[in-house]
Amino acid sequence: MKKIISFLVLIIIFSTCKNETDCCVNLSPITVNLKFTHNWNGVALTAADFNSFKFTTENGETISIERLRYLISNISIGNTIKDYNLVNIGENTGSEITFEEVNQESNLLQFTFGFADEDNIDGVYQDLNSASFNVPSMLGGGYHFMQFDGKYKDTNNQDANFNYHAIRAVDRSDPDNLVFEDTSFKIDLGTIDFTNNATIEVKINIAEWFKNPNTWDLNELNTVLMPNFEAQKLMSANGKSVFSLGEITQ
């Protein structure tokens, strides 16, 4: 009988040990910091570079950037999700997002540029209303995806304004029957193996908005682009190459 009891005790002890080993496989969650950095074809760009004709578009126009803010939504690292984030380069706000309690494993990093239709609900986001980021009801309401304002040198080398404002595309050919196209788009930056607290750089190449696949001619498309159905689709196409994965430190 003693032998049987000793045997059972040993089984229990070994079972406990096995459980302890399992415990150690469940790694503690980590903190991940997403950091958005901006560049123009690889040259770093900050608010200090605003208000100066120092950038040249693919089409050859020299531009000065004066205001640039954009919205991303459904930002996810694995199962950890942030609803949305407004980045304002000029005011240096929103360029870092901290995710707590991220599982220490391989996680997919992805987000949406702008709001997908189901999230683009008119007037419901108080912070975005307070930031005057709304889209007029006549264009379907909701929110800007990007407000990018500045000046360019026109064909006469005169200063001219541009308002490269991205929103959900709307065809207003019949004002009583608006036709929408969801021009938000998902950015998939791939799977990252997390082994520790991490900082992930998301690189934004501003030049790509004017470049790929549509070479943007600011002399043709400069202002009043919000109600321009075709222009919105071109912006959406160009935006897909703007975002890329940068340095990962952990």
Binding site: F50, N51, E66, R67, D122, G123, Q126, D127, N129, S130, A131, S132, N134, P136, S137, M138, Q147, D149, G150, K151, Q158, D159, A160, N161, F162, N163, H165, N222, T223, V224, M226, P227
Partner: protein
């Protein structure tokens, strides 16, 4: 054993917290107003601030109060291009209307944004030599010697000792209660009334990027402040005699930029612009329609500057004015809580 004497206990007074009455649309659409943790609103603080706001004791010779240039009947501004101080000297900026200041989220006040809170803003006019031209130490002493003020400060802030910091805190508390949110257009947004055809068309022009495109700087049905509280060069001049924000930041890119005022209550707040150059709403609309002047810092949102502006038709101008007037808030003007 309690060491506090009976006399000290009787001196203790706890001010009554005040819940700001936030208009429904503001509560629905906007983030919370800014109430500093070191200056919470109280019944006593607001009452004291109101008394101070209307009291000429703050000026050097006892002839001017805050209300002299910020008349409640004129949406807390005056009707002059420039206001003269106690010595008859005129400034070079138009007196700003005061309302909905607690929703100025960036907390930059004055046309040039030089004051970074309402409390700090309230410091300046008292000592400004071309305004109230007083000395804070003397003002504090006069208040200290006053028959009523010491007990009012005691009730509001727990001390009989009056100084400029507490004076400006009290004034700021009162100013945070100056709220305008019940114009006809607010009532329309709440489903309580309808707009005329002209008002509706005017609103459409306001919101149309291809016509007025006013909404980028002046709010919308979803931002009922009707301002972005930001700073823009709206094409008034080609060169600048007044640098505005640029004089504060030292950044030439900010030259000629001034705060976007709210377009609420325009019927009460003429003349317009930072220098009061426009006497009528029509002149303001004409400026954006045909009068824009190019400069290095003109805001890119002044998109058709090379054509002088957005070139509205006469009908559109009239309708836009009709919409703007629908933002007049008579309840605010007549709010007895805000009168002397």
């Amino acid at each position: 054993m309690n060491c506090t004497s009976k006399e000290e206990k009787e001196d203790l007074y706890t001010p009554i917290p005040y819940n700001l009455k936030i208009p429904t649309l503001f509560a629905d659409k906007l983030i919370a107003p800014i109430i500093p943790t070191n200056n919470p609103l109280t019944e006593e603080g607001i009452a004291l601030g109101k008394k101070l706001f209307f009291d000429k004791i703050l000026s050097g010779n006892g002839t001017q109060s805050c209300a002299t240039c910020h008349d409640p009947q004129k949406a807390f501004t005056d009707d002059r291009q420039f206001s003269d101080g106690i010595d008859g000297i005129f400034g070079n900026r138009n007196s700003m209307p005061l309302f909905n200041l607690a929703w100025n989220f960036d907390e930059r006040f004055f046309w040039d944004g030089r004051a970074l809170s309402i409390e700090r803003q309230a410091f300046e006019p008292v000592t400004n030599p071309i305004e109230m031209h007083a000395n804070w130490a003397i003002v504090a002493n006069k208040l200290q010697e006053h028959s009523e003020y010491p007990i009012l400060f005691k009730q509001a802030f727990g001390t009989l000792t009056i100084d400029s910091t507490l004076v400006t805190k009290a004034i700021a508390q009162f100013e945070r209660t100056i709220i305008s949110g019940n114009s006809k257009f607010d009532q329309f947004l709440r489903g309580e009334t309808t707009l005329t055809t002209e008002e509706q068309n005017g609103f459409d022009i306001f919101m149309d990027e291809a016509r007025g495109d006013c909404f980028h700087c002046h709010g919308s049905n979803n931002n009922p402040l009707w301002t972005d509280n930001s700073f823009h060069n709206n094409g008034l001049d080609t060169t600048f005699s007044d640098l505005g924000l640029g004089a504060i930041t030292g950044d030439p890119a900010d030259n000629g930029k001034f705060k976007s005022p709210s377009i609420r209550n325009l019927v009460y707040t003429a003349p317009y612009m930072h220098d009061g150059r426009f006497s009528t709403i029509e002149e303001v609309i004409n400026h954006y329609s045909e009068g824009l002047k190019p400069s290095a810092t003109i805001d890119p949102l002044m998109k058709k500057v090379n054509n002088g502006g957005v070139n509205l038709s006469a009908k559109d101008k009239a309708d836009l004015k009709a919409f703007l007037l629908s933002l007049s808030d008579l309840d605010f003007i007549n709010n007895s809580n805000l009168q002397e």
